[in-house]
């Protein structure tokens, strides 16, 4: 029996998640500018500096920005544990933005110093984020599967940060002392499946029933999904031990990719199939535009394993670009965009209106953001995904630039939606 809880002081101020969320459109605009400036070149090969910038605009500028902002808010709410020194979140936010700026500057022709500065900024940002958040998640009495998933996500974030920043030394005049392709594969696997996939899965277990009245996922199902995910994150590391010794048909990085199969099956097959089923069987089928994002994102997830197989089997680098595009923008960012359209009105309602309930009339959360505005964002986001897929497969220059324009429109739509809701205040 619980009789205590958070105090109002422990709940993080709205300005913390809001500052992260408001800069997500900046990451999208950066990606849009690269596509508009470089056209099909930016979508031709994953090792092109423009493509590296594009990928990190998505992972650091969009996904990490949203997920870190959300974790500051979710940890006290879901885990019931306040994050110590939460105010340094503003510093984390600034360092994350500076790190993304340094990466982009270097890859788009800037000096080695830009990469060195980016490495420092991101190291400091991640330490200042991971230590307090890890402490809060470690000492929470809550033992739920969602909390386990949040823990796995931040351990994965720490791992990919370490690997990523060591590899980034190569762009700052240093040398990466290892099998670069193998470590890129592990960086990619842990980033997409552990950090992004782990958090999406864990959060969906909480928010899909909470916001959409879908059934709870069975606890034993959650446990074995979590176990498989963990196995698929640890097994690829075993391929590090066999690197250079395989002498087989497969290279070490291909072995690492195959070893991640249990995790890939959980995140890109079982989880989307399960949640799509629960959404379709929900108790009260109230129309909600934010669900369009979930359906599209989870539907897209089902395409990722077939594309990954194509990456392994076919030498054409376009498949690797397509894999990144579909995973980052079609699956993870799509779900995040939908979550923002549901969570930001919720946070605004909670922080600005809930204290007045019972004393005066307050607006409903749904009235803070129109469904039409959410649908517009969805149509733009989905269009950019689809046109981007065609641009990657055909390498037609104007289609790549059109994708850039659609990204720009999506960023403007998302930014205006966030500002519209965040400006709402009681009269």
């Amino acid at each position: 029996m619980k009789t205590g809880g958070l105090s109002l002081d422990q709940a993080p101020p709205l300005s913390i998640p809001a500052s992260f969320f408001l800069t997500i459109p900046v990451g999208i605009i950066l990606a849009a500018c690269i596509m508009l400036a470089y056209g099909a070149v930016s979508l031709s090969n994953p090792w092109m500096p423009q493509t590296l910038t594009l990928a990190h605009a998505g992972t650091l500028g969009v996904l990490a920005m949203g997920m870190i902002g959300a974790l500051y808010q979710m940890t006290p709410v879901i885990a019931g544990s306040s994050v110590p020194f939460a105010r340094i979140a503003h510093f984390v936010h600034a360092m994350l933005l500076a790190g993304l700026g340094g990466f982009s500057w270097r890859w788009l022709g800037g000096p080695e110093f830009a990469m060195t500065a980016a490495i420092w900024c991101l190291s400091v940002a991640m330490l200042a984020f991971l230590l307090p958040l890890g402490w809060a998640l470690l000492r929470t009495p809550t033992k739920s599967e969602t909390v386990q998933g949040m823990r796995l996500a931040i351990v994965s974030l720490a791992t990919i940060t370490l690997i990523g920043l060591l590899m980034a030394q190569a762009y700052a005049g240093g040398i990466f002392p290892g099998n670069r392709m193998l470590w890129v594969q592990i960086h990619l696997t842990v980033a997409l499946l552990g950090w992004v996939g782990g958090l999406i899965m864990a959060v969906s277990w909480q928010v899909i029933p909470m916001f959409y009245l879908a059934s709870n996922v069975n606890k034993s199902t959650m446990r074995w999904m979590f176990g498989l995910l963990l196995a698929g994150l640890i097994l690829p590391l075993a391929s590090v031990l066999t690197a250079g010794e395989t002498g087989s048909y497969l290279s070490a990085n291909q072995l690492a990719a195959i070893a991640a199969l249990p995790a890939a099956l959980v995140i890109w097959l079982l989880h989307p199939a399960l949640i799509l089923r629960n959404i379709s069987q929900r108790k009260r089928k109230r129309s909600d535009a934010s669900l369009l994002f979930w359906k599209a994102g989870l539907g897209t997830a089902l395409l990722i394993i077939p594309i990954a197989v194509a990456v392994l089997m076919l030498p054409d680098p376009r498949w690797q670009v397509l894999f990144g595009w579909v995973a980052i923008w079609g699956w993870a960012s799509m779900i995040m965009h939908g979550m923002l359209s549901r969570i930001v009105p919720f946070l605004v309602w909670f922080h600005r209106y809930s204290a007045r309930v019972g004393f005066e009339p307050v607006p409903s959360m749904r009235s803070l953001l129109s469904q039409q505005r959410i649908k517009t964002g969805f149509i733009l986001h989905l269009s950019s995904v689809l046109v981007g897929v065609i641009a990657i497969l055909t390498q037609v220059d104007w289609l790549a630039r059109l994708t850039g324009l659609l990204l720009l429109a999506t960023a403007i739509s998302l930014g205006s939606m966030l500002l519209h809701v965040l400006k709402r205040n009681p009269a």
Partner: protein, 87 residues
């Protein structure tokens, strides 16, 4: 069910009010319903609700309104909450 509920909260069974089932409401509607019902509660009133999950975000508001609460989390993740005014 009421017997087991009274056990959870160490309250005599006939002192418990009927359970308001708020599990069919999307967030933040359960919080809104509870705050509306409890803000003007008298010193001897009690409010008992069944929620879809432990409402961590509700607790600061109950605290600010001088209300005492007890929560029992059930195996399915839903939660029972008993609210009364602090004496």
């Amino acid at each position: 069910m009421n017997k087991s509920v009274s056990d959870h909260f160490n309250v005599v069974e006939n002192e418990l009010p009927g359970i308001i089932d708020l599990r069919g409401l999307e967030a933040p509607e359960p919080m809104q319903k509870i705050l509306q019902a409890c803000t003007q509660m008298g010193p001897d009133d009690k409010y008992l609700a069944h929620l879809p999950h432990v409402p961590n975000l509700l607790f600061p508001h109950l605290e600010a309104r001088g209300l005492h609460w007890q929560v029992h989390e059930k195996a399915d993740g839903s939660a029972l909450i008993l609210i009364r005014r602090k004496h």
